[in-house]
Symmetry: C2
Subunit: 292 residues, 2 copies
């Protein structure tokens, strides 16, 4: 159940998961996605185009069923041929869905299959109308407009360390990276921002997620951390000038390390500490008093 | 030769090297240290207490001799017993030296041997009088007052990821870490700063160095990058509260990625882009005109 239903003209919430989310124990991240999807009233579609494994869609379908989402179905779009062939019955499914989940795999497998198709346009339209969209691993990256497609590891930004491609663009102001700590990906995120620091860099650890409200705040949940890099006020870079593989200078960045409960105001570009328990208690008390 | 001799009442320059500096090709970093030490007029002492290898001191001695430093000698201090036994002849050697070089190894081997000894006090006094001090790897960390002694890798700060110990304290405002990119050490540096964000965090890549002027600017040279983390304005952390191994939140940090030629104003806590070539040319022209 969605505690704060949005008018249909507002975009749906987004959830970006850093991959390798807990699937067997408390399942805090997936459970929260089920809540966002509408809980027992939710109608959830799973799109596993990013995955090379045929069973990925079914696996998530089983997981979400265990977590008692209302209805769940796998949208079968294996490749570009299938994406182009997606007819009115697929668009009808999307029209009825409260939420869409994008699995992991390769973000290029997904973007090269769906890019420019009516199916991608329909996903964007339905999200704009209020459909919740979540993605894990490659599926998280795909929420970006300027998407990190490939890259190498390392904490230092280097020329040609990263390759960009066009993503789904549901979170156009963010550049999302995942498996962040485990795969040591700060360097590739910084490199991408050095090319153009317009988007906010968001590096998400495994079993960790951000929920993005359409009003422009983001909150973290899960076991790991989220590194947020704001390079918009960068005063100097030489990324255009250095040679292949050489490290880049980037002066004047802002960095926040968020963990569960922390947030970020995406409009003001400012991190938010976890809400204090006494504030929450007060709010609950106020809500209790306000009940009829 | 030292182009800018300092009055004897000023501390000597410091050079912190991120380890694994080039020893066979251009040797940009070691060559610059020889310049700082006074070049052909330099009298350089090597202290290899951090290293468990008996030949480390000799190895650097050979390297610096190849680079044509005036005089070079190894100060043999194998352990705490030797450090305590260091008599007037050792202090005399130090009194005559223009520069001291600290090798790599284990910073705890060094600090547990020299900590609190008259020898450590003599090094600090000579540095305060103008002796240049350089260190690579463990030797770079040792320049800190609050020194990173041990830790684990990973880009996310986590409770207990790092152990601190007292260093030599020649650069008291800095917390220096090394082998930074190769060993993925951002997380341990952030963890240390979360405990107390007073010092500036300086993470130096391999074959890369910073030269710290006593007036309070720092310049980078070498093949890699230097990540500078300023956490002094940190607005929130939960490092005191989270459980062992859990990630920490740190909100409101500043990050700069410096590469060769970039600098940092340590007093104003502000990064400096490389000096523009036309400025350098102008300065050289002015100097030429100013010659008698």
């Amino acid at each position: 159940m969605d505690e704060h239903p949005l008018p249909a003209t507002r975009p749906g919430r987004l959830m970006a998961i850093g991959g390798a989310e807990d699937k067997t124990r408390e399942r805090i991240v997936l459970r929260r996605f089920v809540e966002l999807a509408g809980g027992r009233d939710g109608k959830l579609l799973i799109l596993a185009t990013a995955s090379e494994l045929a069973e990925t869609g079914e696996r998530y379908s089983d997981l979400f069923r265990e977590l008692e989402v209302g209805k769940v179905a796998v949208l079968r779009v294996a490749d570009r041929e299938a994406a182009l062939a997606a007819g009115p019955e697929v668009l009808d499914l999307l029209a009825g869905a409260t939420a869409l989940f994008l699995t992991g795999g390769s973000q290029l497998r997904f973007s090269s299959a769906l890019g420019g198709t009516p199916l991608a346009a329909a996903i964007r339209r339905r999200h704009a109308e209020g459909m919740v969209v979540g993605g894990t691993s490659a599926g998280a990256s795909l929420l970006s407009e300027h998407m990190i497609a490939l890259g190498d590891s390392g904490s230092t930004p280097r020329r040609r360390l990263v390759h960009l491609a066009q993503g789904l663009g549901l979170a156009p102001d963010l550049m999302i990276d995942q498996h962040f700590r485990r795969r040591d990906r700060l360097g590739r995120l910084l490199t991408a921002l050095s090319y153009n620091p317009t988007p906010l860099g968001v590096g998400i650890d495994e079993d960790t997620a951000v929920v993005i409200e359409p009003e422009g705040t983001m909150r973290v949940l899960g076991a790991g951390a989220v590194l947020v890099v704001d390079a918009r006020d960068m005063r100097f870079t030489n990324s255009y000038a250095v040679r292949r593989g050489q490290p880049l200078a980037m002066l004047g960045l802002k960095l926040d390390v968020l963990t569960t409960g922390c947030g970020y105001d995406l409009r003001r570009r400012e991190s938010l500490p976890p809400e204090k328990t006494d504030v929450l208690v007060l709010r609950e008390a106020a809500a209790a008093l306000a009940e009829p």
